[in-house]
């Protein structure tokens, strides 16, 4: 059977989580690989959450917030926007592939878009295969 | 089949030192290997770092001579920025470095060398350590030693903001200057230190030179090698620890070469053996000829003695006196008596103390031009200083964004890796005779050979008490039949 990635999604309550709900009420299907964790604002997403998820076996992480300018807290998503490129830099140094961590904006009315994002991400990560961070750490000490 | 004697662990910079002595069937030393079993890979993992960060990273190569690495690195980095450096910064760095030298030499002399001489080579091992020394010369002096070392550390603290692992040097200078108030703090310390240095020199004369058997031990015994000498000198061929040209002189006093730091790799190369992580530098133009002594040998020492061997004179008057007296006693300049390095250290300390005093009296020293902002990145630099334990070379390159693209390090002790191999074998051969098993003495004799070099894998023995753990296991037909340890 083919590899099914585990994806953790951090969604802001006001736009993206509502958008994901809309995908539901509109019955727009998407792969079941994503498990959504709700935060009030994308600015609450500490990059530590992302590495923690990866370290605990997530094959990918999705971060969604309101579109720039539309933040329920007026500017929270800009903070998320500022953190992301630095986080990517850091993950690159660890050898985490670019496609495994994505940040994007989903409004409350973009159920369709949310479904498309999850579908695309899932396909890309399926292609990448399982995240390799984990085993690398484990089998080394006994390495000769 | 050959039997082997293991001496493990000796002591370390990067991991334990280990000596393997192989005897042939009639019990004579067939071969002897001195191994360094650890590598941390600085040369690789500094690549990709911003070049100006390196002086703050490479200090962790050695926590006992961090300032040596910091300074060599700083100079290499200055090179990468076109050597645009505030003149005052050079003075401040040099001043710091003299204090660093004193702290290190005091520790080495009292914690390591003194036990052998003050307590005597044959004294009961349990008292042959700094505490033993204290017991012999009195607790007061013991406290003075600790205090003197602390003073040297304080001077560094005040100047550079830190002692171990300072973060002081930046391209173009240093991150902080010396205020008049701080200078006033330092002055009395410097005076106290220089009188302590005199005291140490006197102690050495009284205790060591006063005892013919020690003099004999220094001049004769197995502790001589026919190899060349390396050291950093100023334009008058006087020792300079922070700045200058590298001079190589053979054991008969003939100058082989005198080169600018930037030319180092035309003159020095490193040989690799599979059984140790530590490389073997040699004189490149002569080529690697194995562990061979002789006037044409490509092997050299870089020790305190070697530094004085390559020097024609000292840079300061009182040091000059000490220098002359030493070589007269040693029967001429240069000297091959490895044990004389202990003495050489004291002579160096005299110069360190006098230089500190000079800087204290320099009216410029407290001015504020301690750094310039470099205007260009030129991309390559070589920094050479004299670490306490030998000539230290850092060679970096960086891209035009100032990101390190390569780093090559030849660490002080590494220079002496080959001589140490050789003297170890020599001592083993002298002491282990066919037929009769090696006796207790071998341990200390080998240890003394090491101490002469104060190899940096033993620099940590600068803590109390000053004994290295040694053990000899003698096997017959693979069976352990005798062992010595202390």
């Amino acid at each position: 059977m083919s590899f099914e990635p585990k994806i953790v999604g951090f969604l802001c309550n006001w736009c993206s989580y509502t958008g994901a709900d809309l995908a539901g009420t509109s019955r727009i299907p998407y792969p079941a690989n994503v498990r959504i964790i709700r935060v009030m604002c994308s600015a609450r997403i500490d990059p530590t959450f992302v590495v923690q998820a990866l370290a605990q076996g997530a094959d990918a992480v999705l971060i969604c917030g309101c579109h720039p300018g539309d933040c329920h807290y007026s500017e929270g998503n800009y903070k998320a926007m500022r953190r992301f490129p630095l986080l990517k830099q850091l993950l690159k140094a660890y050898g985490v592939e670019d496609d495994r961590v994505r940040q994007t904006w989903v409004s409350a009315s973009e159920g369709q878009r949310f479904a498309e994002i999850v579908t695309d991400l899932t396909e890309r990560v399926r292609a990448l295969g399982p995240s390799r961070i984990h085993p690398e750490l484990l089998n080394d000490q006994r390495e000769r | 089949m050959s039997r082997s004697i293991k001496i493990d662990p000796i002591t370390r910079l990067e991991g334990h030192g280990k000596i393997e002595i192989f005897l042939n069937d009639d019990g004579a030393v067939e071969d002897c290997f001195f191994q360094i079993p650890e590598l941390r890979g600085f040369e690789r993992f500094v690549v990709g770092r911003p070049i100006e960060e390196l002086p703050r990273i490479v200090t962790r190569i050695c926590g006992v001579c961090p300032a040596s690495h910091h300074m060599a690195s700083a100079k290499a980095v200055d090179g990468c920025f076109g050597n645009e450096v505030a003149p005052l910064a050079h003075k401040l760095r040099d001043m710091y470095y003299h204090a660093h030298y004193i702290h290190s030499h005091i520790a080495h002399f009292y914690a390591l060398a003194a036990p052998d001489f003050v307590c005597g080579p044959d004294a009961d091992p349990s008292v042959r350590n700094i505490l033993g020394v204290v017991a012999k010369v009195g607790l007061e002096i013991g406290k003075q030693v600790i205090r003197a070392r602390a003073l040297a550390q304080n001077i560094q603290q005040i100047l550079g903001g830190r002692t171990t692992h300072l973060v002081w040097c930046l391209p173009g200078g240093v991150s902080k200057g010396l205020t008049p108030e701080e200078l006033q703090e330092i002055r009395p310390m410097v005076q106290e230190l220089s009188s302590f240095v005199d005291f140490s020199l006197k102690l050495f004369r009284d205790v060591v030179l006063g005892n013919p058997s020690y003099v004999d031990l220094i001049l004769h015994g197995p502790y001589t090698l026919d190899v060349q000498n390396m050291g950093l000198v100023d334009e008058h061929n006087a020792p300079n620890f922070y700045h200058g040209k590298v001079r190589v002189v053979d054991f008969q006093g003939q100058e082989i070469v005198k080169y600018e730091p930037a030319e180092y790799f035309e003159h020095v190369a490193e040989h690799v053996e599979p059984w140790t992580y530590l490389k073997f530098p040699y004189l490149k133009k002569r080529g690697w000829k194995g562990f061979k002594e002789g006037i044409d040998s490509s092997i050299y020492c870089a020790t305190p003695l070697a530094r004085l061997n390559v020097a024609d004179r000292m840079a300061t008057p009182r040091a000059q006196e000490a220098f002359e007296q030493m070589f007269t006693t040693l029967g001429g300049h240069p000297s091959k008596a490895l044990m004389a390095s202990h003495w050489a250290r004291l002579v160096e300390m005299v110069q360190n103390a006098e230089m500190l005093q000079r800087y204290c009296d320099d009216p410029e020293i407290t001015s504020e031009q301690y750094r310039v902002v470099p205007r260009q990145i030129t991309g390559t630099g070589v920094g050479i200083v004299e670490a306490m334990r030998g000539t230290l070379t850092h060679h970096y390159t960086c891209d035009n964004n100032g990101i390190c693209t390569s780093a090559n390090l030849i660490v002080g002790t590494t220079n002496n890796n080959a001589p140490i191999q050789m003297v170890t074998k020599k001592v083993a051969q002298t002491l282990i005779q066919p037929g009769k098993a090696p006796h207790q003495g071998i341990l200390n004799m080998i240890e003394m050979a090491f101490r002469a070099f104060d190899p940096c894998y033993s620099c940590a023995t600068h803590s109390l008490p000053g004994q290295m753990p040694l053990e000899v296991r003698v096997y017959k037909g693979g069976e352990l039949y005798r062992q010595f340890k202390r």
Partner: protein
């Protein structure tokens, strides 16, 4: 720490969940998880029996945590929190797993959907273990109110509050009260005199003791939070040095009004160049003075009224200014009664006649001789100077939609119905009182339908045309609504503050001040003496930005703590 007893409930939602998720399977696996005291499934957890099930279990089994796996928390979180409260459990000891909107409705494969439902449920159960009971805080409510703007909205609101017996500070930037309404003659559709409307308000205002009017005054700074704001006012009419004054208030009504569109921006109307092209406000002036005449002092024989000047136009404002159409008809009527011989042509895009009495008003107006010409959006008529041979000042060319012909009409006077736009300083005001404005610059209400006069900042209300173009009745209604909202707050005496907010642990804060700039509501204060930052709970909206940003881990986001989120991450991945 008491031993945890978690109640786990999974909802079939009829078949909405059950048809793709093996609800029983979820229930059974959940029952095995540590500290889960009871696991149940039910057709409709949100129904009364469903809620009672939770209430009873809390009472009988002594549950101290509750998890419901059902629809989106945005749907029923409050429902179930309430059930917990009824059962005697702090509502925040509850967590919800969204297995409908984010699972059963978007997945088809039952196996896969069930696995995901279990993961989401495990996440919720893990999380709830770390939940803490939270209680609302309360703060004093200062009964005084600051009203920004002395127009009809501000006056009305101030009066409303003052008459209820509460002090009001009415702040007007200009030298007199009245605002835009003071520039109007009669009002459509009933021809009330604006002058009278205003006069009535002003006299009653003077009669009310507890309104203090500040003319030539602007708000300079506003700090604090609902019930406890401190405002700095600056008064100065230019000729003397400005004086500053600080007042303590509980609420703010922003009624800063609008400014009319600058007609000269539409060059081909020739406003400012052609002498007899005037704006609606200039015409109001004529009406008020009772002298309708051209520059040359003659009464106009042909008057053209052009609608939507600056409005409903892709170049300037896309929105409709709402009042111009009726005002234009009013002009036609007033012209006809003043100058019966005058030909009036009304050039419009669409005739917007919504609202009470307006459709009748339109009909009546069309009965008096007015020529109605319809032009298309973005095909504005062109005005040019007439030649000597023509017996009129100007000629207007219109592509007339209804006839489909290009019509040329004479005009001695052209009235441009200029639309409304936000005042130039709207941005500053929004920033001062910490509210937001839309792309056009109108202030944004907290909910366009359900919460029109409130804003996202507690204690700041907006009324009248500062929020969008509107007519006088709507403006007055909003002013009174805002006043009513505030009166209700004042009547309560205290304000309740949600228990969910960020808090700084003073034992951990090192005063690095990283967080200070980050809060969009300025809820973080720095105590220079103690070298510590702290959060004002009433101002904090719990977005969690500072929590994520605090480098020393000193800020805790209540109900969204690191611990809770890490536990959930572990849960959904396990």
């Amino acid at each position: 720490m008491e031993e945890l007893k978690i109640g786990f409930y999974v909802c079939n939602c009829g078949t909405n969940i059950a048809h793709t998720v093996d609800v029983e399977g979820v229930k059974e696996v959940a029952a095995q998880w540590p500290e889960v005291a009871i696991a149940r499934s039910y057709r409709y957890m949100c129904s009364n029996p469903g809620q009672e099930m939770i209430v009873n279990d809390i009472r009988e089994l002594g549950l101290n945590r509750v998890v419901v796996a059902a629809c989106s928390p945005r749907m029923h979180e409050l429902t179930f929190r309430n059930a917990c409260r009824l059962g005697g459990l702090n509502p925040y000891l509850f967590e919800m797993a969204n297995i409908r909107e984010q699972c059963s409705w978007v997945h088809t494969d039952k196996l896969v959907a069930t696995e995901k439902a279990k993961a989401l449920a495990r996440g919720a159960v893990n999380r709830v273990r770390h939940h803490e009971p939270l209680d609302p805080l309360s703060a004093e409510m200062c009964p005084e109110t600051l009203v920004l703007g002395g127009g009809i909205a501000g006056l009305t609101a101030a009066l409303e509050l003052a008459l209820a017996g509460h002090p009001v500070h009415l702040v007007e930037k200009s030298d007199r009260l009245g605002g835009n309404i003071a520039r109007v003659d009669l009002t459509a559709p009933y021809f009330y005199s604006a002058r009278d409307l205003l006069a009535d308000r002003l006299t009653r205002l003077r009669a009310t003791p507890n309104v203090s009017v500040h003319l030539h005054t602007q708000l300079k700074n506003l700090s604090g939070f609902i019930g406890n704001y401190t405002a700095t006012l600056e008064t100065g009419n230019g000729d003397s040095a400005p004086r500053q004054k600080t007042i303590h208030i509980g609420n703010v009504i922003v009624a800063t009004g609008y400014k009319e569109f600058d007609a000269s921006r539409i060059t081909h109307y020739g406003y400012g160049k052609l002498p007899n092209v005037i704006t609606s406000f200039e015409f109001e002036q004529m009406l008020r003075s009772g002298r309708i005449q051209t520059q040359s002092g003659r009464p106009p024989r042909y008057v053209a009224i052009i609608h939507c000047v600056g409005s409903r136009n892709r170049e300037f404002h896309s929105y409709c200014s709402r009042v111009c159409c009726m005002t234009a008809l009013k002009y036609a009527r007033e012209l006809k009664s003043a100058l019966p011989e005058c030909y009036v042509s009304d050039i419009y895009i669409d005739m917007h006649a919504f609202g009470k009495g307006c459709e009748d008003f339109y009909r009546k107006s069309s009965e008096v001789k007015t020529l109605f010409l319809m032009y298309g959006k973005n095909e504005q008529p062109v005005i040019r100077k007439a030649d000597a041979k023509d017996d009129c000042e100007m000629l207007i060319e219109v592509d007339e939609k209804l006839s489909g012909e290009r019509i040329e009409i004479p005009a001695d006077m052209v009235i441009l119905m200029v639309g409304m736009e936000p005042r130039p300083d709207a941005g500053e005001v929004a920033h001062l009182v910490n509210i937001s404005h839309d792309k056009d610059g109108w202030f944004i209400e907290s909910h366009p339908k359900l919460d029109p006069v409130a804003t996202t900042t507690e204690g700041i209300y907006i009324a009248g045309t500062c929020a969008a173009p509107k007519d006088i009745p709507d403006t007055v209604a909003q002013a009174r609504a805002a006043a009513a909202r505030i009166l209700a707050r004042i009547a309560k005496g205290k304000i309740e503050i949600d228990g969910v907010f960020a808090e700084v642990d003073p034992e951990r804060c090192s005063g690095c001040r990283m967080c200070n700039e980050l809060c969009p509501y300025s809820a973080i204060e720095f105590d220079a003496q103690a070298k510590r930052s702290h959060v004002i709970p009433a101002v904090c909206k719990a977005c969690g930005c500072c929590v994520a940003a605090c480098p020393s881990g000193a800020i805790k986001g209540r109900h969204f703590t690191d611990q809770q989120i890490y536990a959930q991450i572990e849960g959904v991945l396990a």
